[in-house]
């Protein structure tokens, strides 16, 4: 058995002529939060569904905790907690009834599920809502309920498909704090939630999370950028940002439409994007110096004003846009 909790090799799945997942490889070790990042339709959800056995792969291999998802799917399922993109708890059951149902069908006895459920509801902050029907929870609370239900069997691997889509920023923060607590070594956990973390024999939990948000991607230990069913770049957020080191310039000035037009006309500027009240220019490799020296005069010659133009460290969004475009060429 390998050291990786999740492994995928050449995973493929087509729906008719659409290659939803077109050769995906990744390995996730214990204790890692791995983020699948990509736009809608990139193949994130299908990848997740292949790993949990909700879909059968056309070809390729995948294993969770060393169990083959084709041949040992029931063992795989006993090791995972899965939160689907769409809310998939029963709206007509209460919070506690939902957790109880999914705990029992996943093999927890009636003695085990109740104390654990109460612990977990405390952990995710739903303890006061345990008798409320799931249909009457807010979007964020629903996601927390989903997470709580996924956690109740103490899975080794957590698969979360866009868990924070449509959730307010404060709840998103809470959610990420929970995830970080989950994967951290048990000694760092506060005593009250000690049962949630790495108490599991065999070590720490892995999380595979998909998200369209760059700020969330930045929180992962490693990310895989997905596009057209493939992972086109993979690494720690810092490694990915390094791809564009010295290639992002930040421009502030007035008027914006003029700045944008002039910047686009420059032969070494590959892309111009607005980031709030400033522009991010992506320039060709080793061209930053050239652009820095000639762009201000070009703008001034058109009666524009330049307040600031300088090289800045790239953010993940720059990297994502750049990768997405290079694939189009």
């Amino acid at each position: 058995m390998s050291d990786y909790l999740v492994q995928a090799i050449g995973l493929r799945k087509s729906f008719g002529a659409v290659h939803a997942v077109n050769g995906v490889d990744f390995n996730i070790p214990a204790g890692e939060i791995y983020g699948l990042v990509g736009s809608d339709g990139a193949g994130k959800t299908t990848t997740m569904r292949l790993l949990v056995g909700a879909l059968l792969p056309d070809s390729g291999e995948a294993a969770v905790c060393g169990f083959d998802v084709r041949k040992q799917i029931e063992q795989v399922r006993s090791q995972i907690g899965y939160l689907s993109q769409r809310f998939s708890m029963y709206e007509d059951l209460t919070v506690l009834e939902n957790i109880r149902f999914f705990a029992e069908v996943r093999g927890l006895s009636s003695k085990e599920w109740l104390p654990r459920s109460l612990d977990i509801l405390e952990f995710v902050g739903l303890a006061n809502f345990k008798d409320r029907r799931a249909g009457q929870l807010s979007g964020g609370m629903k996601q927390k309920l989903g997470l709580a239900s996924a956690l109740v069997t103490r899975p080794r691997v957590l698969l979360l498909d866009e868990p924070t889509t449509g959730v307010d920023p404060v709840t998103r923060q809470d959610f990420w704090q929970l995830l970080i607590k989950l994967v951290s070594p048990p000694t760092q956990l506060p005593p009250s939630s000690g049962k949630m973390g790495g108490e599991q024999e065999g070590g720490r939990v892995s999380v595979l999370i998909s998200t369209p948000y760059m700020d969330e991607a930045a929180r992962c230990n490693r990310i895989g950028f997905m596009r057209h069913g493939q992972i086109i770049a993979e690494g720690a957020p810092s490694e990915l940002r390094a791809i564009l080191n010295e290639r992002i310039l930040e421009l502030r000035g007035d008027p914006m439409p003029l700045l944008r037009r002039v910047a686009r006309q420059d032969q070494d500027v590959e892309d111009v994007r607005a980031f709030g009240d400033r522009l991010h220019l992506r320039v060709g490799e080793k061209k930053a110096g050239d652009v820095l020296s000639r762009l201000p005069s070009a703008i001034r010659s058109e009666q524009g004003r330049v307040d600031d133009l300088r090289a800045v460290p790239p953010v993940l969004e720059d990297v994502f846009i750049s990768l997405a475009e290079s694939e189009n060429d």
């Binding site: 569904r49 909700a54 029931e74 399922r77 899965y82 769409r86 998939s88 007509d92 999914f102 996943r106």
Partner: protein
């Protein structure tokens, strides 16, 4: 066989049923509604059929015969006519359905024991016509018997073999022509096929429609456990409904339960396999609850019309009779009617039971094979 996972599903299913007033109403109130609708409104009994009389005899004997018709309550003598043209126009205008013609020599022929009367029936409404026909025969027959007995008592001679009025009709089991007798066992069959197919199809499709199936899929529940856990609550409901109908039918409509209750339960269980199987099958083809409903209806409507529930099988064209052989409800109706009304034993309904077993196993098997615990 019943492990804790299945029990969890069953309990969850019951909690959901109890919290869904629409399902509850469907399950509890629908059978009662159908029972009363079909027991009363859809009754094929016809009373007070308007009748004309052409009494050419005008004797005490002929008037006694008319009194017998009046007493039967099925006919209302509204016209007295004097010619063929008279009653023809009355029938054409729909003012009467039946004409009784008593010949001039009725009293003499009655003494000789060879009296004949003519019944002219409007056949445009088959149910009225058939009721009128059989009732008229029955009235004639019982009147003839009465005369024979009176005459035998009067003359001191033994009862003659030939009745003075020649009518050959025999009615078994239901001498009052009470259609509730016939309908109520049928309602059991209809409820068992309608409500169970609809509920099983929608309960499974609902999981897909609301997305909860995705969470169920990733649990270690096996397909058959999921199917069993989802279906068993509806088996229980179906039996509750069956007893609901039998009890109300027996107490209110006085329908007899002459056969063995055990056999009723066993055969109903066999028939349920087909119904649940059809519901399960529909659920594998539908993505929304509406689709599931429509799919189920495609099975249910022909099944109601071709099973002999409304229309007698014998009255159908040969082709449709052939089609009806493929309808499980057809066999169940024979079984449940025979068990309740005739009180037959196992031997009399053997072949129907075999048919129900075959249908149940085949339909349920095919549906279970189609049922996949996957999204694609």
């Amino acid at each position: 066989m019943l492990n804790s996972r299945i029990f969890s599903i069953i309990r969850k299913e019951f909690v959901q049923i109890l919290r869904d007033p629409r399902t509850l109403i469907l399950v509890i109130v629908m059978p009662i509604m159908q029972l009363f609708l079909l027991g009363y409104a859809a009754t094929t009994d016809v009373r007070n059929i308007p009748m004309a009389v052409w009494d050419q005899s005008q004797t005490p004997q002929s008037r006694a015969l008319l009194d017998a018709f009046r007493a039967a309550n099925y006919f209302k003598i509204s016209y007295s006519v004097g010619s063929t043209r008279d009653y023809q126009s009355l029938i054409e205008s729909g003012k009467i359905r039946v004409v009784l013609v008593i010949p001039p020599d009725y009293d003499r022929r009655l003494l000789e024991g060879s009296a004949q009367v003519l019944m002219v029936l409007d056949g445009s409404d088959a149910s009225i016509g058939s009721t009128a026909l059989s009732t008229a025969r029955l009235v004639g027959q019982s009147y003839a018997t009465k005369i024979s007995i009176e005459r035998a008592a009067l003359t001191g001679r033994p009862l003659s073999a030939a009745p003075p009025l020649d009518v050959r009709t025999q009615v078994w089991y239901n001498p009052d022509f009470d259609s509730a007798y016939f309908m109520i066992p049928g309602v059991i069959g209809m409820i068992l096929s309608f409500i169970t197919t609809i509920l099983t199809a929608t309960t499974i499709v609902r999981e897909r429609e609301r997305g909860t199936i995705e969470q169920l899929i990733v649990t270690p529940i096996r397909s058959w456990e999921l199917v069993l856990g989802k279906l068993l609550p509806y088996v229980i409901l179906a039996f509750v409904e069956t007893f609901e109908i039998i009890i109300i039918g027996h107490m209110w409509f006085k329908v007899p339960v002459r056969g063995s209750l055990t056999l009723i339960i066993i055969t109903s269980g066999l028939f349920l396999m087909s119904s649940l199987g059809i519901g399960l099958f529909a659920s594998t083809m539908a993505n929304t609850q509406q689709e599931a409903m429509l799919t189920v209806m495609m099975f249910n409507l022909p099944s109601i019309f071709l099973s002999g529930f409304f229309f007698p099988l014998e009255a159908m064209p040969p082709f449709l009779q052939l089609v009806s052989l493929a309808i499980p409800l057809r066999y169940y109706l024979v079984v449940i009617r025979a068990l309740m009304l005739k009180g037959v034993g196992y031997e009399a309904i053997q072949s129907q039971i075999v048919a129900l077993i075959i249908f149940g196993v085949v339909i349920m098997g095919a549906a279970a094979l189609r049922f996949r615990k996957r999204l694609d």
